[in-house]
């Protein structure tokens, strides 16, 4: 795991370790010194040292632990050098003593405290996601900017502003108490899901790492809050979507949509885990949007072939979801289910009522329905419009080929 097959320790390998470990290290360093900038710099420095040392000395057995320890030493050095840091050091010592005596209380993970800090309602919605990706996902500012299609200086400014607010307004580094939890939790769930989706749409190195990070955070959260059905729902949802990862791309790298995927490549272990959680949610009968979306994905996972999909069941679930979360995107998905159950004509009527012209999936859905109705020239226009707006190259190619994929 820590070495490439031929034993070479190179920059890409260290880059991968950085993605896997930096969130944990940054969270640990913030817990240690209470200062996000000091923590980030120290972890960066530790990786710079690793980049120089590991190619000769080899990767240590516990690279994450090595990084955190090295970063802690760097942080202490830096704090000693600075006048204000010397005050901080006193606090650090006091904190270390207190933590030693009391443990970490009910919070099992520094990263969980960090995610609640990043997702504090006092920060803007964009800042919450950007900070979570930066601090917990280990993405560079450039990568975060790319994930959100904004210019790098804009994103840099957004991150600086958010960190300044955390520090100056003293947004606490903690998991909220029970009374505040429902509100805060909604924001955290939304961010974890956005991080997962950013991973799905990121074809580069960061993609699988982001998905894994989102799943890991969802697991930690569901372990901490076993009585929150929406946490379970989110975990089941991301597990079930993740189970199809390998089958989403064909060997040539082109995109395979759900109906065309090689179902033998679906990850059965993830499906079983996700479906078991969905069954638990059904027994509890406190439905919410994440649980219903998970249930929809569980129905897809049940079908041995695309033709065997229980579309009436999926339509009923989308009806329930739309009642709970009446957004145009949910209405679009409901229309797709209507298309499978009642045919393309009533589905197209529903789609054409939606104000979603800025969303590529709207045009892709219209294109598919128009093609099924034999309105080929209108379908071609819709495919082209969807293609120009598609978030990834694979999706763009897929749509340019008329939504059939390369064979």
């Amino acid at each position: 795991m820590n070495h490439t097959p031929d034993g070479v320790v190179d920059a890409p390998l260290i880059g991968r370790i950085f993605r896997e470990e930096s969130g944990r290290s940054v969270a640990a360093l913030i817990a240690f010194c209470g200062d996000i900038d000091v923590a980030e710099d120290a972890v960066q420095e530790a990786f710079a040292i690793a980049l120089r040392r590991w190619p000769d000395a080899g990767v240590p057995p516990n690279p994450g632990g090595w990084i955190t320890t090295t970063a802690r030493k760097r942080a202490i050095d830096r704090l000693r050098r600075e006048a204000r840091g010397r005050d901080l050091l006193g606090e650090v010592a006091a904190l270390a003593e207190r933590d030693g005596a009391e443990g970490r209380g009910t919070v099992p993970d520094d990263r969980l405290r960090l995610i609640f800090t990043c997702c504090h309602p006092a920060l803007s919605a964009e800042a919450r996601v950007a900070l979570t990706l930066r601090l917990l996902g280990g993405l560079s500012t450039t990568e975060v900017a790319r994930a959100f299609l904004v210019a790098e200086p804009t994103m840099a400014q957004r991150l600086v502003r958010a960190k300044r607010k955390i520090k100056a307004a003293r947004i606490p580094y903690r998991v909220p108490e029970d009374g505040e939890l429902p509100d805060r939790l909604r924001s955290v769930l939304a961010v974890i899901y956005l991080v997962y989706n950013a991973g799905v749409h990121n074809a580069g190195l960061a993609g699988p790492g982001l998905c894994a990070e989102a799943i890991r955070l969802a697991r930690i959260l569901s372990g901490l809050m076993p009585d929150e059905p929406e946490v379970a729902g989110l975990l089941a949802l991301v597990l079930l979507i993740e189970s199809r990862r390998a089958s989403r791309t064909r060997p040539d790298g082109s995109l395979a949509v759900l109906g065309e995927q090689d179902r033998s490549r679906w990850d059965r272990a993830l499906i079983e885990e996700g479906q078991a959680i969905v069954r638990g949610c059904l027994r509890r009968n406190r439905p919410g949007p994440y649980q219903i979306q998970a249930a929809i994905n569980a129905v897809h996972a049940d079908a041995a072939t695309a033709e065997q999909t229980d579309w009436p069941q999926i339509l009923a679930l989308y009806d329930q979801l739309l009642a709970m979360a009446p957004t145009p995107v949910v209405a679009l998905n409901l229309a797709v289910a209507v298309g499978e159950v009642h045919g393309p004509a009533p589905a197209l009527a529903l789609v054409d009522e939606l104000d979603l012209g800025h969303y590529y999936a709207f045009h892709a859905t219209r294109a598919d329905l128009l093609r099924r109705l034999g309105r080929d020239s209108e379908a071609a226009v819709a495919y082209e419009r969807a293609a120009t707006m598609a978030p990834t190259d694979a999706e763009r190619d897929f749509l340019r080929l008329g939504g059939r994929g390369r064979r």
């Binding site: 901080l88 504090h120 520090k167 307004a169 947004i171 505040e180």
Partner: protein, 123 residues
């Protein structure tokens, strides 16, 4: 501890349902209770309610001259109507006090940290 200003902004000419005498009494009683609670917990530093913005005077320097003009500083419909200065451990604690005040007076509250205190967190 961090010091925060909880400021209450009134909007000039905003039509609001006028409070009944009874509602007014209840709101004042609630505020009194909140202020007592703030004092008891060591959070209260200072608070004040301001007269209407049209009672304001602005003094400014122009070249070598001091100019005094009638009216508020900013030409805006929003004016500071009153404020609390409080001390709190962190933003959540300050937001807790702001929530109590806004529930009593039904006016939005801006919560902002004060800069430049010795015990400010490493700014």
């Amino acid at each position: 501890m961090v010091r925060y200003m909880l400021s209450v902004h009134s909007r000039e000419g905003e039509v609001r349902e006028p409070l009944t005498e009874e509602e007014m009494q209840r709101s004042h009683a609630q505020l009194r209770d909140i202020e007592r609670e703030m004092a008891a917990e060591g959070a209260w530093v200072f608070s004040a309610r301001l007269h209407e913005a049209d009672t304001a005077t602005v003094v400014r320097v122009s070249g070598d001259e001091i100019l005094t003009t009638d009216g508020p500083f900013a030409e805006t419909k929003d004016h500071l109507g009153g404020f609390y200065l409080i001390e709190a451990a962190d933003l959540d604690a300050a937001l807790g006090w702001a929530a109590k005040v806004t529930a009593a007076i039904k006016v939005p509250i801006e919560v902002r940290p004060l800069a430049g205190f010795a015990d400010e967190p490493h700014a």
